[in-house]
């Protein structure tokens, strides 16, 4: 518990609701409590999309392009395996690292990305890929360690680094470079002094992918400056152009990389909360230690579903990817016809168009709010994903084609009326 009076730099009041003195006295004694959040928790601002989300929830006619999860249902074979596991009473804990059968299935599965990991010592099944990322930070980041975060990127990395006691270092990437990460960008941001680099490709929110050559340049930077890498590859199966490349396959990188993946995106299993981490034995053991004290083991029912997903659901993934690809092409083509610049997303299910040119003062939050209030189209302001995202919107095409067309028609009217 921190002593707020000794922490002048800690943000006061604001979103947390704490008063400037740190006390919790209110007019309503029933609502008073004596808790003061820990400093590292207090230091993290609330999610940038929270207020926006509340507006979206208050309307009934919303077409949401703000959803970061598949609009498909998990394949029936996977659901069936989950049901069967319950019918057979498989409701106890599993091994901390996850069911051996699942780890073996994961080892076979990742061979398609030229990744080879030992199910006994190098694979850890987690409660969603989010837990795997969090474990990597908590197990590998010491207080004061600098963690480089290319931005824009998924909103949870920065708080996760802070919660682990690390210092986040934003590394801006740019629309003009198709959001790819370059050694120059890393150097310019001071990442040569960092301890860890977090990658997310295909990327949420930009949809950017990295080619083998682009990753090789980043890998060289990491080797030269001795950076560890946490590579979140949760969207690997949703790669449209070329093949997904994992940085862990590049020379010298396997021994310094934690690869994170999971079942939420490719298999539309978001609610089953299942992910995994691939890492060399030392890192994997450290992450497993944190996991076993915090989570014990990932959900058993979901693990049964995951085994079946890996064994029998490749065709479902191909079908979903084909549908996303169709929507992706439609969305980006339509945006460009409306005069809105957008880098072609090579993966995931997001487009990240630049609205700065058509937004008042280039303010993406104001633009998104006005778009929502005027047309009922919800899109996430790009600045929610870090400074690099300012002036952009994240549009998810994990929504049906009819809604996508209607949303674009409304956007067209909205832009024409401005």
């Amino acid at each position: 518990m921190s002593d707020r009076s000794d922490s002048p730099d800690t943000p006061a009041s604001g979103a947390s609701g704490a008063s400037e003195t740190g006390s919790r006295e209110t007019d309503d004694p029933g609502k008073a409590d004596r808790f003061t959040p820990a400093e590292r928790v207090e230091a993290v601002p609330p999610s940038g999309i929270r207020a926006f989300f509340e507006v979206a929830e208050s309307r009934e006619d919303v077409i949401s392009l703000g959803v970061g999860e598949p609009d498909f249902t998990a394949p029936w074979a996977a659901r069936s395996a989950a049901i069967e596991s319950l019918e057979r009473g498989r409701t106890s804990y599993t091994a901390n690292r996850g069911m051996p059968a699942l780890r073996r299935a994961i080892a076979r599965h990742v061979e398609r990305y030229d990744l080879a990991y030992d199910p006994q010592e190098e694979i850890l099944v987690t409660t969603g890929a989010s837990e795997a990322v969090d474990l990597a930070f908590r197990a590998l980041v010491d207080p004061g360690d600098v963690v480089a975060l290319p931005t824009p990127t998924y909103v949870s990395y920065r708080p996760g680094v802070t919660f682990a006691g690390g210092d986040p270092l934003p590394v801006p990437t740019h629309h003009e470079d198709d959001w790819s990460l370059t050694p120059d960008a890393l150097a310019a941001a001071g990442a040569d002094e960092a301890d860890v680099l977090v990658l997310c490709y295909p990327n949420n929110p930009t949809g950017a992918t990295m080619t083998g050559e682009e990753l090789a340049a980043v890998a060289e930077f990491c080797l030269e400056h001795d950076l560890l890498v946490v590579s979140d590859e949760i969207y690997a199966a949703l790669t449209y152009e070329g093949e997904h490349t994992s940085i862990a396959t590049l020379p010298g990188m396997r021994e310094r990389t934690v690869v994170v993946n999971g079942f939420s995106k490719a298999y539309a299993m978001t609610g089953l909360r299942l992910g995994y981490a691939l890492a060399p034995p030392t890192a994997s053991a450290a992450m497993t230690k944190v996991h076993q004290y915090g989570m014990l083991s990932a959900p058993t029912t979901a693990q049964h579903a995951a085994i079946r997903a890996l064994e029998d659901c490749d065709d479902d993934v191909v079908e979903m990817r084909r549908e996303y690809d169709r929507r992706r092409r439609y969305l980006t083509a339509r945006l460009r016809e409306l005069g809105v610049a957008v880098a072609e997303p090579g993966g995931a299910f997001y487009a990240f168009p630049r609205v700065a040119d058509v937004a008042p003062d280039g303010d993406d939050e104001a633009f998104a709010t006005e778009l929502l209030e005027t047309t009922g189209v919800a899109a996430v302001p790009g600045s929610a994903f870090g400074d690099g995202g300012a002036g952009h919107l994240r549009l998810s095409y994990a929504t049906g084609m009819d809604d996508l067309k209607e949303a674009m028609a409304r956007l067209e009217t909205f832009l024409a009326d401005r």
């Binding site: 949401s64 703000g66 959803v67 999860e69 998924y154 092409r329 439609y330 929610a384």
Partner: protein, 163 residues
């Protein structure tokens, strides 16, 4: 078949009313290329028609559908093609397939009344010399038609905005 043509057909199967412009956006082809390929596919007999999927139960129209199994016995003068050509002539027949298993032809038929379906089977199919047996199954409820699920529930319970 190249990827673009396959994508074009996928788009049309999902929604035959897609505009040329929207097909172009989804396939990466230009609008002119889409038109040209559609012409080619129609001329080659790949694209045989563009029809609607109708949930007749949601209308007040009288509509009776049935699945008819037909067994036939071939002779030197008559083959499956001959029989199929004869049965397919009737506008009552929506689809006609030669299938493996306990019977030879599977027909999807529809008409305004049950009597009309019965008359079709009794007057146009059963009397054919090659036909040895028919079994008519009237459709009591349609749950899915040509890939479209007839289900009112389309709730999206995902959060409207997520990180």
């Amino acid at each position: 078949m190249d990827d673009e043509t396959r994508a074009l057909l996928d788009v049309l199967v999902a929604d035959a009313r897609e505009s040329t412009a929207d097909i172009a956006r989804q396939t990466g082809l230009s609008a002119d290329e889409v038109d040209a390929r559609l012409d080619e596919l129609e001329a080659a007999g790949v694209l045989r028609g563009y029809t609607a999927v109708v949930d007749w139960d949601s209308t007040d129209a009288d509509r009776v559908a049935a699945v008819v199994e037909v067994n036939v016995e071939l002779d030197r003068e008559t083959d499956y093609e001959d029989i199929a050509r004869r049965i397919a002539e009737s506008p009552t027949v929506d689809s006609l397939r030669l299938v493996s298993g306990d019977y030879d032809f599977a027909l999807d038929v529809s008409a305004d009344t049950m009597q009309a379906v019965s008359r079709f089977v009794a007057d146009e199919v059963a009397p054919l010399p090659a036909v040895t047996k028919t079994v008519t199954h009237y459709v009591m409820e349609t749950y899915k038609e040509r890939g479209v699920v007839f289900d009112e529930r389309d709730d999206d319970d995902r959060l409207s905005v997520t990180p």
